[in-house]
């Protein structure tokens, strides 16, 4: 009866089963959060104190009707042509050289009847109350894409890097503070070259 002295060994054979059970529970309950999207600032509700007069040629009007058809600057266009049109409008740089608005980095057509400079150009999106949200997001995505294309072009020229990469690194909380400081200047600089001016008009109702 010498065996009695030590405590009997507990069988660990079922350990794997228990662990499996827990594992499956966590596998099933895990959800990978979707936490990315299009950032947008809404206009404040108080109207600005002084009325700003904007020239018609500096506004790129995008209208979206309830069937998902798109009217850009008075022309019926396809969704996949929108980016091209928006880019051409933003990059136009129509102001004559020597004027304060002259844009020396624009590579557009310099059409006098289109926008003066990227800083003046405004894109206005108007949608119907019955427009599908998915279509609206596509339009927003294309317009943001147009800005990003132009910003990337300038960032490549000045810093040999894409703007979107720089911005992502700048916004990443794991980036070093010293690197961030450096990136902040660059991001700001590019943003000043092509400021994002997307205005959202109130939706209209199709009945009137």
């Amino acid at each position: 009866m010498a065996r009695r002295a030590g405590a009997p060994e507990v069988s660990a054979g079922s350990m794997a089963d228990i662990a499996f059970l827990l594992l499956i529970f966590f596998l099933v309950t895990t959800t990978i959060e979707t936490d990315a999207g299009l950032d947008r600032m809404l206009p404040p509700i108080e109207p600005p104190e002084t009325d700003v007069v904007i020239k018609q040629k500096n506004i790129f009007q995008v209208n979206l009707n309830k069937d998902g058809q798109l009217l850009a600057d008075g022309e019926l266009v396809n969704l996949n042509q929108l980016r091209e049109k928006a880019t051409a409008f933003l990059d136009n740089g129509g102001a004559v050289s020597g004027s304060p608005d002259y844009c020396n980095y624009c590579k557009g057509k310099r059409d006098a009847s289109s926008s003066d400079s990227p800083a003046k150009a405004i894109i206005s999106v108007k949608s119907d109350r019955e427009t599908k949200y998915g279509t609206y997001i596509t339009v927003q995505n294309e317009l943001v894409g147009a800005y990003n294309d132009l910003r990337n072009r300038e960032a490549q020229r000045l810093y040999k890097r894409n703007f979107t990469d720089m911005e992502a690194e700048y916004l990443n909380p794991e980036t070093d503070a010293s690197v961030k400081e450096d990136l902040k200047k660059r991001v700001k600089r590019i943003q000043e070259l092509f400021p994002q001016k997307l205005s959202e008009a109130e939706t209209s109702s199709s009945s009137n």
């Binding site: 794997a16 936490d35 939706t203």
Partner: protein
């Protein structure tokens, strides 16, 4: 009779499973650490649209989420099939959005209150009328930073 004659031919030795619990535990800990428990269940159809020019929403503690979509099957009887707004755990009207935002904002710590983002998780089949009502409410309470939360993908498939 030699010493080694006991071995029978063709018998495969059993693989030891002693390390199986270790492997499983390793996996278990991995999933335990990455799991985020949802604080509210989504009661609306919520298939987000796709976009590719997206930015990540860093720092979850600075985000207030609003769900919009048609009520799921078990709720269609009571709430119908028209897209609805879901705040926390209940359905709401557009005019309740402002109060909800103010309430959520008050829960956050002082230094975060000015940097909050409102994440709009809207089903892609919802219509813009409801969204613009929400946007108007958000502007009324000065919650101007919004994020149209989307999946990453081809925007033309929406």
């Amino acid at each position: 009779m030699s010493k080694f004659a006991k071995k029978k031919d063709g018998e495969v030795p059993a693989v030891s499973t002693a390390s199986l619990p270790d492997i499983v535990f390793m996996l278990l800990f991995f999933f335990m650490t990455v799991t985020v428990m949802k604080d509210s269940s989504v009661k609306v159809a919520n298939e987000l649209p796709q976009a590719n020019e997206i930015k990540k929403l860093e720092k979850k503690d600075r985000v207030i989420t609003i769900y919009v979509g048609a009520p799921t099957k078990e709720y269609t009887k009571t709430f119908g099939t028209e897209p609805k707004i879901q705040l926390n755990d209940k359905f709401a009207n557009p005019n309740e959005v402002g109060d909800y935002i103010l309430m959520e904002r008050a829960k956050k710590s002082q230094e975060l209150q000015n940097v909050l983002t409102t994440s709009l998780k809207v089903d892609k089949n919802a219509n813009m009328g409801l969204i613009s009502d929400i946007k108007l409410e958000l502007r009324k309470v000065n919650a101007l930073k919004v994020n149209y939360t989307t999946y990453e993908g081809d925007a033309f498939k929406n």
